[in-house]
């Protein structure tokens, strides 16, 4: 219990945009206001990326398969979503926060942590946080909630309790009484599996979790158990980091129908790698590690990675990705997902190779990138990656079900 006493007196606010994607869609189309809205991949296999509170009344939850969501709430508006627009609005909000907050961390597309320790000398932290919330709502038009407390975990839990469009302050003295009656599901790191495990142990509320010896939690869940136990006690000393460097970039695709079509898979891989490589060059980064991941229809996930010299050029990345895929895909089993990841990123630009990088190729890449920057990343692509798109378009016209990408929220960690 000594550690609780050691907690520094910080004031952390957690801002979370309410049903962010839905709110953005509503800004565009006022008819959606007050109606159940579901955002997610258009196909049956996609998952719900975001859903409005109206649809939640029907039991729709984010992360749920679209097929199920549609069945639960047939009258809801289904929207495929537009990641680019969402990140634009996300940046608008970040900008407002950046102008006012002394120290902030963008935790995801719709979440920010602010360290406002010391701001109480003015009008009080709660007052300041409320004002910021009103400014955000007024300037961006997006509803937002916040939780104000002593550390990131408690603030986040408080935000969850404050939603929708609410605010909650949990001062130092009432952290434990606030947490105790809540379900363990509310602890940020407890996912479906951990929840199931803990419930099977008979743990329901956070208070019950705090009553378990820390050693036991460690035996059951390892390091995470200790961390979870601390969080249940309202202990979390992680600082608000203003900027965390991106460690990797990745993309993945789940298919409408599981497939063994190697030709199709390779085309898709080319398209995905190409898009990712463009992102890499746009951010002036280079990668030295490529990972290719596949998930078989029985959910067996396999991945292979390879270290390469630092590069940002398509041709090297494409060849490596294809080689890895060929090495990886040995079993003639149906595949449901394929993914590519670039890691070990450094910022910098490509040193050209005397024997490999001809001037023509360099200028081709520069021109292609210029076209992409102006007209979008799919404006120009390799024919070997394009065939897939054509195939999809053809299928779209003939069959009602089409393979398509689920909306993936790329969280920056």
């Amino acid at each position: 219990m000594q550690e609780i006493g050691q907690q520094s007196n910080k004031t952390i606010v957690h801002y979370d945009l309410d049903t962010f994607f839905v709110s953005v869609e509503r800004l565009q189309n006022s008819q959606l206001i007050g109606k159940p809205v579901i955002i997610g991949g258009g196909s049956d296999r996609g998952v719900v990326a975001s859903c409005s509170y109206e649809s939640r009344l029907f039991g729709v939850r984010s992360g749920m398969p679209m097929k199920l969501a549609r069945r639960l709430c047939p009258e809801s508006f289904l929207i495929r979503g537009d990641m680019e627009r969402y990140s634009h609005y996300s940046n608008v909000v970040t900008q407002i926060i950046a102008e006012r907050a002394p120290l902030y961390e963008k935790a995801s597309i719709d979440e920010h942590y602010l360290d406002i320790t010391g701001m109480d000398r003015f009008f009080g932290c709660m007052k300041w946080a409320q004002e910021l919330r009103h400014t955000i709502v007024k300037e961006s038009g997006l509803p937002i909630s916040f939780g104000l407390s002593v550390n990131k975990t408690v603030s986040k839990i408080a935000t969850g309790e404050a939603k929708p469009s609410g605010e909650k302050e949990v001062p130092q003295g009432v952290v434990r009484p606030f947490l105790n009656p809540l379900s363990i599901r509310k602890i940020p790191m407890v996912g479906a599996k951990t929840y199931y495990l803990l419930r099977s142990m008979g743990i329901e509320t956070i208070q019950m979790l705090t009553e378990i010896p820390m050693e036991m939690m460690q035996q059951v869940l390892g390091e995470n158990g200790t961390l979870m136990w601390k969080k249940a006690h309202g202990i979390d000393n992680t600082p608000v980091k203003p900027y965390s460097e991106q460690k990797s970039m990745s993309t993945e695709r789940t298919f409408e129908h599981d497939t063994t079509d190697v030709y199709f898979l390779e085309q898709l891989l080319v398209g995905m790698t190409e898009k990712l490589a463009f992102q890499l060059r746009k951010q002036q980064k280079m990668t030295s590690c490529i990972t290719v991941k596949i998930k078989y229809s029985n959910f067996d996930t396999h991945s292979q990675q390879l270290r390469i010299p630092y590069t940002q050029f398509d041709h090297t990345l494409l060849e490596t990705a294809k080689d890895l895929f060929r090495k990886l895909y040995q079993r003639r089993m149906l595949i449901r997902l394929i993914g590519v990841r670039f890691s070990h990123l450094v910022s910098g630009t490509q040193q050209l190779d005397l024997f490999e990088d001809t001037s023509e190729r360099v200028r081709l890449y520069q021109s292609m990138d210029q076209i992409r920057s102006r007209f979008g990343s799919s404006a120009i692509r390799r024919a070997s990656g394009l065939a897939v798109r054509q195939a999809i378009d053809e299928m779209k016209m003939t069959a009602p079900s089409i393979p398509s990408s689920p909306l993936v929220i790329n969280r920056r960690y």
């Binding site: 910022s347 005397l354 200028r363």
Partner: protein, 375 residues
């Protein structure tokens, strides 16, 4: 087997050849020096299988020819501590016992059978042979060695490519980012021939050659090369494989030409590159008539630097990016007062040449590939 030799003389020779011995040998015998007496000459050999270096000492007092291998480390460590004095080596070729008698002591070592030492490779019947001036060979190695690669995937790039023809001799090295070509037309060969000299023997030659005063006899076939110097003989296995067609990647049409004071350019780069991104070391050169703007920035730390140097520039205004470390390395390996930078466009290699020739018959060309900018 018995001989008497001066302690400092012996140490000098052993030190010179000891650099061949690799710290992680595959064969234990390679941790030894091989001593061989032939009449009044003592031949000492050190080898790492790839490269072998032999030195010769003329003896005044020796008896019975023979062959013995002695631990290199023990020899070096003891000899280092001797003042100048004659040492007597008594070697029993039956038991391989080595006895070193000094003015006031006796040192006993157990040697190894000299016959176990790997034999020298032999040259093919129709091998190439020529004499090279020692200063030419030294200049060729000095100018090019820094540009060799460290690339396991492309072993041919890890050496210096020496190309002989009826008109000239060319030394070429490249790591695919930079390339150096050093040509001399004061030495000609009767035929076309070439070989790739690995880095290790090249750097050994670099340290041995300054002490030479006569021509070096070079013999080579497609596997090995023998360099016979005054007191040394260096035998090395050559890098096998085909050297890339380097001439085709040297751009020939370079309408933009900059002439600049080498030292000014060098010191400016050194200063500005401090502010470059540590991972990429990118410096930008902006070329305008009569001035060169060198700039660098590191966004992560919000630092930047820019400097303008006077120069003569003929051509269109352009901006090109280079890795500062490479550019600095090239400039430090040129020796002329002014350098000429020839460019065609920002995605093609830039040529760096000495603006004024030091020697009538030499031709130095250094080339550097740019980095992609404003991608």
């Amino acid at each position: 087997m018995r001989f008497v030799v001066s302690s400092t003389e012996l140490l000098k020779h052993l030190n010179a050849i000891s650099r061949v011995i690799s710290s992680k040998n595959t064969l234990p015998i390679l941790d030894n020096f091989l001593f061989k007496i032939e009449g009044t000459t003592l031949l000492i050999t050190a080898s790492d299988l790839e490269t072998t270096l032999i030195t010769k000492i003329d003896l005044e007092n020796s008896a019975a020819d023979g062959l013995i291998a002695v631990q290199a480390k023990i020899m070096l460590d003891t000899l280092k501590e001797f003042p100048e004095q004659p040492l007597t080596f008594n070697i029993d070729l039956e038991t391989f016992a080595v006895e070193i008698l000094s003015a006031n002591g006796k040192f006993s070592i157990v040697g190894h059978n000299g016959e176990d030492f790997p034999a020298l490779p032999s040259l093919a019947e129709n091998h190439n042979a020529l004499n090279l001036p020692h200063d030419l060979l030294l200049a060729g190695i000095n100018k090019t060695l820094f540009a060799t690669a460290d690339d396991e995937l492309r072993p041919v790039m890890n050496g210096i490519f020496v190309e002989l023809s009826t008109e000239e001799i060319a030394f070429v090295a490249s790591d695919a980012h930079k390339l150096v070509r050093y040509k001399r037309n004061d030495v000609k060969y009767t035929d076309k021939a070439s070989f790739i000299l690995p880095k290790k023997p090249a750097s050994l030659l670099k340290s041995l050659l300054p002490r030479e005063d006569s021509d070096v006899k070079l013999e080579f076939d497609d596997k090995n090369a023998f360099f016979t110097l005054n007191g040394f003989k260096l035998v090395c296995r050559l890098v096998e494989g085909k050297y890339p067609a380097y001439n085709s990647v040297i751009p020939t049409n370079n309408p933009n030409e900059l002439v600049i004071d080498r030292v000014d350019f060098f010191t400016t780069l050194k200063r500005v590159s401090v502010f470059a991104n540590q991972a990429s070391n990118l410096v930008r050169l902006k070329l305008n008539p009569s001035e060169l703007i060198v700039s660098a920035q590191d966004i992560d730390f919000a630092i930047s630097a820019v400097e303008t140097i006077k120069c003569e520039y003929e051509g269109q205004s352009m901006e090109i990016g280079f890795k500062s470390t490479f550019l600095v390395e090239i400039l430090s390996n040129l020796s002329s007062e002014h350098v000429k930078l020839k460019l065609s466009d920002p995605s093609r290699a830039g040529l760096l040449l000495p603006a004024e020739k030091e020697l009538e018959y030499e031709d130095v060309l250094m080339l550097l590939m740019p980095m992609m900018i404003n991608a």
